[in-house]
Amino acid sequence: MGNQPDEAQEAPAHARVLTGTRVIDAIKRGGVSHVLSVPDLHTAKGLLTPIRSDPALTLIRTCKEDETFGIAAGLNYGNKRALILIQYTGFLYAMNAIRAMACEHKLPMCMMIGLLGKEPDVAPQDSAKFGVRIIEPILDILGIKRFLIDDDSCVDAISPAIEHAYSASEPVAFLIGRKPV
């Protein structure tokens, strides 16, 4: 289910970068109005800081990650789109909420998951970090479509994937591989 674009593999490693503002523009093109988040060191500067001051997005800070799934479900019933911005540890923490709302009730839970500690230009499944290695297999077992967002060449996948999640009422996960700048 992963979708690492070929272009990302072809770009010279030193030139590869993930630009936070490009990711945020893609989120907004997907119709997202609310971002629900527990801060993640991996995305704190490149994504959460600019989101905080973006007038087109309402940031809801939560204390734990499972709250974000409950809030996103409520927003969905009221016809608002949300992005859940969390670290992979928070994804693991929120597993029962994900099981219920994303998998069993097939709600359009759009998750952006920071892979803190993933080495640059190393696939998640080859990371030295156990926690990073297990995320893709868990998403596959849950049947959740996933996209590795590792540099700017991957960003164009975000907006259509959000559109699809809402039109098909199904969850989607964007794995932030490289620390956004």
């Binding site: 409520g74 949300a82 009730h105």
Partner: protein
């Protein structure tokens, strides 16, 4: 302390087009007393009723949202009080129905049944906090909460049970959620 069904009968008389988010034992009684499209039965992950309510309140600020939470449920998601306080939805009324037990899970006590949720809500930054322990002060608290800008928190002391018949399959069926979606977006 009061009987939950008596309090819910009072609540039925006080609401109109508000969204009601209910969970576990209170949801079972509420569905029996007032089955309506604008009910949402919090499903799947215990503790998230208030989070569902917060999402609905943020999405539909023109409507009041009443959350009928349980004490066991709220203890699983205490951070929600801080999240709600920070998000500050003017239309959210969060009630915790406190009977000191995990009633839906066999009636075992919560770790500390005397926990003071009203004090916790105040400490989290929620300014409008009420306590109710009989039908009269319950009705008064709800009337107050419906008339002011929130977020509002009400601690409702109730007796345990008796539990009526319940069917989670019926409560959580997809057509109910569809009905809510249609009612909200007609």
């Amino acid at each position: 302390m009061m009987n939950r069904k008596i309090a819910l009968e009072r609540l039925k008389m006080l609401i109109n087009d508000e969204i009601v988010v209910a969970t576990y034992s209170t949801a079972s009684d509420w569905i029996e007393i007032f089955d309506r499209p604008l009910n949402f039965f919090s499903f799947g992950a215990m503790g998230l009723a208030s989070s569902h309510g917060l999402g609905l309140a943020l999405a539909r600020p023109e409507r009041k949202v009443l959350v009928l939470d349980g004490d066991g449920s709220l203890l699983m998601n205490l951070g929600t009080l801080v999240t709600i306080s920070a998000a500050a939805p003017k239309n959210l009324i969060h009630m915790v129905w406190k009977n000191g037990s995990y009633e839906a899970n066999g009636g075992h006590p919560v770790p500390y049944p005397q926990v003071d949720f009203a004090a916790m809500a105040r400490a989290a930054g929620i300014a409008s906090v009420y306590r109710a322990n009989d039908p009269e002060n319950f009705e008064s608290a709800v009337r107050q909460a419906l008339s002011i800008e929130g977020p509002t928190f009400i601690e409702v002391e109730i007796e345990q049970g008796p539990l009526g018949p319940r069917s989670y399959k019926e409560m959580y069926k997809a057509s109910r959620r569809q009905r809510l979606h249609e009612a909200l977006n007609a």
